[in-house]
C-alpha cells in the first residue's frame, strides 16, 4: 500500500506505459501489414498488365509473320480492330497503376507499340515482316522492363 505520492504515481503510470508500448507495437505491425498488402496488390496489377503486353506482343508477331501469306480482308480488319481496342485497354491498366503511386509515363512507349503492331496492318504485305516482328518485340520489352524497374525502385527488394 502506497503512502507517499511518488509510489502512488508509479503504480498509476506503470499500466499506462504498458498500454502505450502495446499500442506502438500494434501500430508498427498494422503499418507493415498494410505496406505488404499494398505491395502485393500493386504487384498483381503489374503482373496482369505485363501479361497483357506479352499477349499482344505474341498476337502481333503471329499476325505479321503470317502477313506474307494471303490474309483475307476479314482477318486484317479483325486483327487491327481487336489490337487497337486491346491497346486502349492496356493504357487504362497503366492509368490504374499510376493511381497506385507508381509514377511512370509510358505514353510514348505505348504509342510506339501501337505503331509497330497496327501501322499499315490493313495492308501488311507492304511492310517487311521481320522488321515488324523485331520492332514489336523490342517495344513490348521496353514497356515490361520499365514497369519492372519502377516497381523495384518503389518496393526495394530486401537484402
Amino acid at each position: 500500500m502506497c503512502t507517499d505520492f511518488t509510489c502512488y504515481l508509479g503504480q498509476a503510470i506503470g499500466p499506462l506505459i504498458n498500454i502505450f508500448i502495446v499500442f506502438i507495437g500494434w501500430s508498427v505491425l498494422y503499418g507493415n501489414a498494410q505496406k505488404i498488402a499494398t505491395r502485393s496488390e500493386t504487384r498483381g496489377l503489374l503482373d496482369r498488365t505485363i501479361d497483357k503486353v506479352r499477349t499482344l506482343e505474341n498476337e502481333g508477331k503471329i499476325y505479321w509473320l503470317k502477313s506474307s501469306k494471303n490474309l483475307t480482308s476479314e482477318e486484317r480488319s479483325i486483327y487491327t480492330i481487336r489490337m487497337q481496342h486491346e491497346l486502349q485497354i492496356l493504357e487504362e491498366h497503366l492509368q490504374l497503376i499510376a493511381r497506385r503511386n507508381i509514377v511512370i509515363n509510358l505514353s510514348q512507349d505505348l504509342f510506339k507499340f501501337r505503331n509497330s503492331t497496327t501501322f499499315c496492318s490493313e495492308k501488311p504485305e507492304r511492310s517487311n515482316e521481320l522488321d515488324r516482328v523485331l520492332s514489336i518485340s523490342s517495344r513490348a520489352n521496353t514497356i515490361c522492363n520499365r514497369l519492372e524497374d519502377v516497381f523495384i525502385s518503389k518496393y526495394k527488394p530486401t537484402e
Partner: protein
C-alpha cells in the same frame, strides 16, 4: 474566335478503322475529308475529342491527321496551332503530333 468541336464517337464512328476507303467505311481518309478539312476551312480552332471509341489504329491516325500535311491542305504550324486533341489517353496525342511533325507535303501536280 470560332471553335468547332468534333466528337469522333458520336459524329463519325465508335469503331474507326483503316486508312483508305477500301479498308472499310470508317477510314482515316474519309474522316479527314468529311470532318477535318471542312472544319479547318471554316473555323479558327478545332477540338477533336477522341474518347468513347473502341480505340484507334496507327494507320487511321496517320491518314486523318498526317494526311492533312501530305495533301497540302494546311501547313504544320497552322495545323498545330488550330488543332486541339482531347483524350484521356495521352499516347494518342503524342502519336498524332508525331504524324503531323513527320509528314512531308506531297509535290503539287
Amino acid at each position: 474566335m470560332t471553335v468547332k468541336t468534333i466528337n469522333i464517337a458520336d459524329e463519325f464512328s465508335k469503331v474507326p478503322y483503316g486508312r483508305y476507303p477500301d479498308d472499310g467505311e470508317n477510314n482515316g481518309e474519309r474522316f479527314r475529308n468529311e470532318f477535318l478539312v471542312p472544319s479547318l476551312n471554316e473555323f479558327e480552332k478545332i477540338i477533336v475529342e477522341l474518347d468513347g471509341t473502341r480505340g484507334y489504329g496507327s494507320s487511321f491516325l496517320d491518314e486523318a491527321f498526317g494526311g492533312l500535311i501530305r495533301k497540302n491542305i494546311i501547313n504544320k504550324e497552322n495545323l498545330l496551332s488550330k488543332l486541339e486533341i482531347v483524350s484521356k489517353f495521352e499516347s494518342y496525342k503524342l502519336e498524332i503530333e508525331s504524324y503531323i511533325s513527320e509528314a512531308k507535303p506531297e509535290p503539287l501536280k
